[in-house]
Symmetry: C2
Subunit: 386 residues, 2 copies
Amino acid sequence: MKFLHTADWHIGKELGAFSLLSEQWNAFQQVVAIAEDEAVDGIIIAGDLYDRGIPPLNAVEAFEQMARIMNLEHHWPIYAVSGNHDGAVRLGAGREWRETTAFFIHTTLAEAFEPVELPDMQIFMLPFLDPLDARIYYQMSDEESRDYTSIEAVMARIIPDLVAKFKPGKHHILVTHYNVIGTGNIGYELTSETNSQVGGLKGVPASLFADFDYVALGHIHLRQASPTDTIRYAGSPVKFNTKEAQAEKGVYIVEVGDTVTVKWRPIQPVKDLIVIKGTFSEITAPAFYEQYAREGANWFSISLTDFPDVRNARGILTTIYGDIVEVNYVGQNAQLGNVVQSELVDGTLSDQEIISHFYETVAEKPLSAEQVQLVEMMLTDIGRGV
Amino acid sequence: MKFLHTADWHIGKELGAFSLLSEQWNAFQQVVAIAEDEAVDGIIIAGDLYDRGIPPLNAVEAFEQMARIMNLEHHWPIYAVSGNHDGAVRLGAGREWRETTAFFIHTTLAEAFEPVELPDMQIFMLPFLDPLDARIYYQMSDEESRDYTSIEAVMARIIPDLVAKFKPGKHHILVTHYNVIGTGNIGYELTSETNSQVGGLKGVPASLFADFDYVALGHIHLRQASPTDTIRYAGSPVKFNTKEAQAEKGVYIVEVGDTVTVKWRPIQPVKDLIVIKGTFSEITAPAFYEQYAREGANWFSISLTDFPDVRNARGILTTIYGDIVEVNYVGQNAQLGNVVQSELVDGTLSDQEIISHFYETVAEKPLSAEQVQLVEMMLTDIGRGV
């Protein structure tokens, strides 16, 4: 069986002040072309289909149209879970009817225990959960609940229960949406920078998933974070912030049989996200900026290493570069950095990054691990529209 | 063919501070029992399935469960449209998949022109529209658009286009959600009170629908507003405000063949809405209040004809009566009425009624017809989550 593995579409997301919808449509069309070219047996979307629990109307219209194209026109089965950005209840509405054409979308823990049964394969779909969801599902007493306050503890209970559902002689795939930590990584050394997106949270150990033939992950937007060769993040198909600017985006083609083979298929952006760093006079020099296609051809993230002695620096930069998603000040003068704090908060950083940044500025120390976890829980609740 | 005709479920609505969900579940179970008893061929829900464009999560869960019971367990086809309270885009999400089991829900004008084709019948479903939707659908020029600013003008264009789709030799049903005005009414004289719910708006003339065998309407919550014997409002299955307190709620069973027969099947509330009027001393006398089942057995709307000389009159009344949805002051002292204006605004009046009431208090004259129309348009936009 051959699958296309993608994740983290975040339909409805904005980059700075700009809608990413046309970029997301472009990526989607390449996903369709790749799926056709590879003649896949199904499409896996490992969570965060939408960017938030109550997506804007044009995001709903876009995803519905994409689903029609994949499932009703091309007749590809879809295997999807809700991620931490999705509103599980709203996304799951109509689930039973979608299944009539093999569009599977699991948004509750109970559904994770009902794998899709193919002749030679079981496909388990485990959505992003709050530990509370698991405590309710398992009808835990207050006393027992005390041992299940973290995602890691909850997953250590759930995964063996999924494995207990394995039918012998079949292959087993898991689709899920968590921060999974391996002992190594594939191809790239994970730097603290690429890893900072998951905050200081502990992750679910990859060893928990050893019994599955392939684990299709979502949550981390860079495939370089994949814990092992068969436990992979496909990453997002579109660049969402400057940390992802250098990364190649794409999807995995996964063939699961007695062996598992994984192939990377890149996706080309229409407009790329270009990160520029320098003094104001350097980057406003024609010899410098003329090297880039501008005027709507690309998005620019600009880091100024000095504080320019002009009024409306951003206006001047916009005239030159066109679509500027952010202007940062990275000079050594910390005070100037504080002055332009608000410039950071324009949508290119994750909410968690903004809160961490703010806390560090005010408290002059980073968030503790407990604080990071608290922030993550609160953001999750907000994102799900609870 | 035999249909159950219902409308205006408003799932998620509250009565005063009280959720109506348990009352709505009770009504739903009676709808199911009636549909079983009558062995109907389908269930018509003529709009306002939800109370607002972005319904709360428990409302989404409730309606999904109701839809599963009707369509997946009992295998009744469902013929539904979105009403002015529904968010058309969100409600329509997944529509194509729902249709695989004959759960039809139309939320756009384009869909209205695609009737469900049964061997001897065409069922047209025309959702509530903004005139703008029609101008876009018909690709009207700016000049032409000037003639289509009202629902009445738009409907005069749409309905003949629907009739043009009629296949001869078949019966024709329309499901829609508007204020339709007949030359007479059935059974009851419409008082200005029961009619005030539609504001001062002109309605769509019933004569427009003369070519249909049966028109299943939603929008007005009282079946007594039905314009003719075959153009009917089923009304809401639950009482939503004091104007509906005296009305019997229920559904219509409609048999459409060479003749059309319509039968009323009432629905019994669990908790009734009881309207009480009197002086404070009258209605706090045991001999008076002991005639009513209280302490959660009923909802009470209380109109005081004097201004009681006690602190916390509402608290005293709540101790006696239990679930009080509103306390009005209807004494002759207008000043006192003004003092307690805020008491009116607790959810039992429609938004339009609250605005009209407020305007009259401030401006000392009623809203003009144009103002009523403007308010209706704004409320519609808000309700749809635009």
